[in-house]
């Protein structure tokens, strides 16, 4: 009898697990479906895509349909993106320049700022911290006009610096790294001071290595944000030669759906690789930001 109850409980647990997994798979499928559309759509010809998406593009009655596998698979879109779209690569490298500039700037400015805010006591520290949080909460549109006026005044509008400089001073990275630097035990720092380490050495040799997780996760999240930012380039860049990859899709002519999907797929690769490379750091960083905020 006892055996039978145990078996029943095990069976129920297994059923519950199956249901949970099923629900997760169901939602995961929803989440992954855009990626699936990108991959399959990239391998479809424009004729096939036109047929499936005609209700969307030409306003016909009915709903768009999709196939698990292309009816007539083709690498035409891939070839076109790789060999016949220099503008795609031009914009990709624009994105990389913006992202690299912002991240580099944050390494030199946001990391010390977060360290100073986390480890030193000074007048108005709380006010500054709250100001950081306030600025972080503000959407870009609130800051856009003032940023535009400043950048215009100093003559940086319509240059990559117009996007890089505001990005360098992003408050989110400081906020995220602040949490990690605040966790560094004071005893370790005191010991280093006793051993004769100056404040600079404390930061570089003790604080930074210990807060590496926060730095990396902040930079990764910032990379993902920079790679897909749209509003800043639109607001501050007039010259199309400076446009980042995030503005490439609007440049694609109508009727080139397959090409657009394929270009999007290629645009997804760098963030995907970095996300996979730093997924552990990201998880910890996001958890830290979520728990301790």
């Amino acid at each position: 009898m006892r055996y039978s109850r145990r078996e029943d409980g095990k069976l129920q647990r297994q059923r519950g697990k199956i249901v949970r997994v099923g629900i997760l798979v169901f939602f995961a499928a929803f989440t992954v479906s855009p990626l699936f559309f990108l991959v399959t759509g990239s391998l479809m010809g424009n004729g096939e895509l036109q047929e499936y998406l005609s209700p969307v593009f030409s306003g016909q009655e009915g709903y768009a349909v999709w196939r698990l596998f292309p009816l007539y698979p083709t690498l035409k879109n891939v070839v076109e993106v790789l060999f016949d779209s220099p503008e795609f690569f031009h914009m990709f490298w624009n994105t990389m320049k913006l992202t690299a500039g912002i991240l580099l700037g944050q390494v030199f400015l946001a990391v010390p700022a977060a360290w100073g805010l986390a480890r030193y006591s000074f007048f108005g520290k709380k006010l500054i911290y709250r100001l950081y949080i306030l600025l972080m909460m503000m959407p870009f549109q609130v800051m856009m006009l003032s940023e535009y006026l400043v950048l215009e005044k100093i003559g940086l509008n319509n240059t990559l610096w117009a996007v890089i400089l505001p990005g360098v001073f992003s408050t989110f990275s400081v906020f995220l790294m602040y949490r990690f630097f605040a966790e560094v035990p004071e005893e370790i720092l005191e010991a280093a001071r006793v051993d004769g380490a100056g404040e600079g050495r404390l930061f570089l040799l003790v604080g930074a290595p210990i807060g590496k997780t926060g730095i990396v996760s902040a930079l990764l999240l910032q990379f993902l944000e920079c790679f897909s930012m749209i509003e800043q380039p639109i607001a501050f860049l007039k010259d199309k030669t400076l446009y980042p990859l995030s503005l490439y899709l609007p440049e694609i002519e109508m009727g080139r759906t397959g090409f657009a999907l394929c270009a999007s797929l290629f645009a997804l690769l760098p963030p995907l690789f970095l996300f996979m490379a730093g997924s552990d750091y990201l998880a910890r960083g996001i958890a830290a930001g979520a728990v301790k905020a």
């Binding site: 990709f92 199309k240 690769l269």
Partner: protein, 445 residues
């Protein structure tokens, strides 16, 4: 940090660098390279050119006597000859034979004429004799007629008188029956005389009529004989031929050109006899040179009578020609006659030369090279290269502009104003097929 994905990211960057270079190279290779020009004000010049053949001017024959053996021909077709130039030579021996034969023929005809003359005199004499005889017969018939009629009349009157006498009392002692028989006898005699008279009268008339006809026949025209006149005509012809032969013999058997000109036809051959037709045909130098050319339907509309024409032959150009004749062909083209009062010595019949007629239109404000104008179905258009800001910088793209061609030649087309401005860069040439919206690279501006 996951090293695998981190390495993958770096490799991805390397791949992106590689394809950046490749796509740039492919783009520069695939983008159409075009030549552009601005439209300009221009007169459209139409040059109608064609291959022309120098035509024969006033052509005349060189005639010689028929039947002469040609010993040598000294000229050929197309050759320019002066007056007196020996064109050909006939065989003198054969000429002498022909001349002798002709003289014999004339002599035969003369003898025939003499014989005919004598025969005609004899016939005339015979005819006169016959006429005289007929006249005599006629006179005699008339005389006989009178005599016969007089005698018959006398006999008839005697019979009448006998009846009258008997009726007046001649019966006497005769019985009634005898008197009646006598009277019937007299009347019978009377009727017999009367009939005899009538028969005599009829016979006399017939005799006179026969004599009259014989006389008329004797006075008739007789047999016509024109052989003498015919022979005289033949003799005259042969004498003319004889004189020509003699003249040719005096010239040594040479056939010469009467005037200067171009030999347009050689109708005799060495070793053959001359015919009744011309031995040579020649075109006169008078009247200048005349060329014949054919132009296409497309060019025909640019040519009018009186247009100046430049004629070029062997590097020499003659610019005083004019269009003097135009004839429509079935296919819409035109046959042109181009003439000048000079250059007959330079442009010989049968030679070919190039003619060129140049016509200029009014000034058009919008003229573009013809290579810039495209026609598709009922649409005529040009491509304009326009600069646009793109991700890769300022680039040129084609825009299709519908135009209306007012006039064109082989190089330029005049367009209706309004569609294009002088700032527009008109695509005049491309190294690949173009479509509206294509990105292009300018070769020159």
């Amino acid at each position: 940090m996951n090293k695998f994905w981190a390495k993958g990211f770096l490799i991805l960057l390397g791949v992106m660098v590689f394809f950046t270079i490749v796509s740039r190279a492919a783009d520069s290779f695939l983008v159409a390279q075009v030549s552009v020009e601005n439209c300009s004000s221009k007169k459209i010049e139409h040059i109608v050119s064609a291959e022309a053949l120098v035509g024969k001017n006033i052509e005349f024959p060189v005639i010689t006597e028929a039947g002469l053996l040609v010993k040598a021909v000294y000229v050929q077709e197309g050759e320019l000859v002066e007056q007196g130039t020996v064109l050909a030579e006939v065989d003198l021996e054969q000429l002498a034979e022909v001349t002798g034969d002709l003289q014999d023929e004339i002599r035969v005809l003369q003898l025939q004429n003499e014989a005919a003359e004598q025969n005609r005199a004899l016939a005339q004499e015979e005819k006169e004799k016959q006429r005289k005889r007929a006249q005599e017969d006629y006179d005699k018939a008339l005389k006989n007629q009178e005599e016969d009629l007089r005698r018959a009349d006398e006999e008839l009157q005697q019979a009448e008188r006998a009846i009258d006498e008997f009726t007046a009392g001649g019966a006497g002692a005769m019985t009634q029956e005898e008197a009646a028989a006598k009277k019937a006898e007299l009347w019978q005699a009377y009727f017999a005389k009367k009939q005899a008279y009538e028969e005599t009268e009829e016979n006399a008339k017939e005799a006179v009529t026969a004599a009259e006809r014989a006389l008329e026949d004797a006075n008739g025209a007789g047999t016509a004989d024109n052989s003498k006149e015919i022979n005289a005509v033949s003799i005259a012809q042969k004498e003319r031929a004889l004189r020509a032969y003699e003249q040719m013999a005096e010239c040594g058997g040479k056939i010469t050109a009467d005037t200067s000109g171009t030999v347009t036809g050689v109708l005799v051959q060495t070793g053959q006899k001359t015919a009744d037709t011309a031995a040579f045909t020649m075109a006169s130098m008078e009247g200048g040179a005349r060329l014949l050319a054919e132009i296409s339907k497309a060019d025909a509309c640019y040519v009018e009578l009186g247009d100046s024409v430049a004629v070029k032959k062997n590097g020499t150009e003659y610019d005083d020609f004019a269009v003097t004749g135009m004839k429509q062909r079935e296919d819409g083209g035109m046959e042109l006659t181009v003439s000048s009062e000079e250059h007959a010595e330079s442009l010989l019949p049968g030679e070919s030369a190039e003619i060129r007629i140049t016509k200029q239109s009014e000034v058009y404000n919008t003229a573009v090279p013809l290579t810039a104008v495209h026609t598709e179905q009922n649409s005529t258009y040009v491509y304009v290269a326009e600069q646009k800001d793109t991700v890769l910088g300022k680039q040129y793209f084609t825009r299709k502009v519908e135009v209306k061609v007012l006039e064109k030649n082989s190089s330029y087309a005049a367009l209706e104003d309004g569609a294009l401005s002088s700032e527009n860069l008109i695509v005049t040439d491309s190294d690949t097929y173009l479509q509206a919206g294509d990105r292009v690279r300018l070769l020159e501006q």
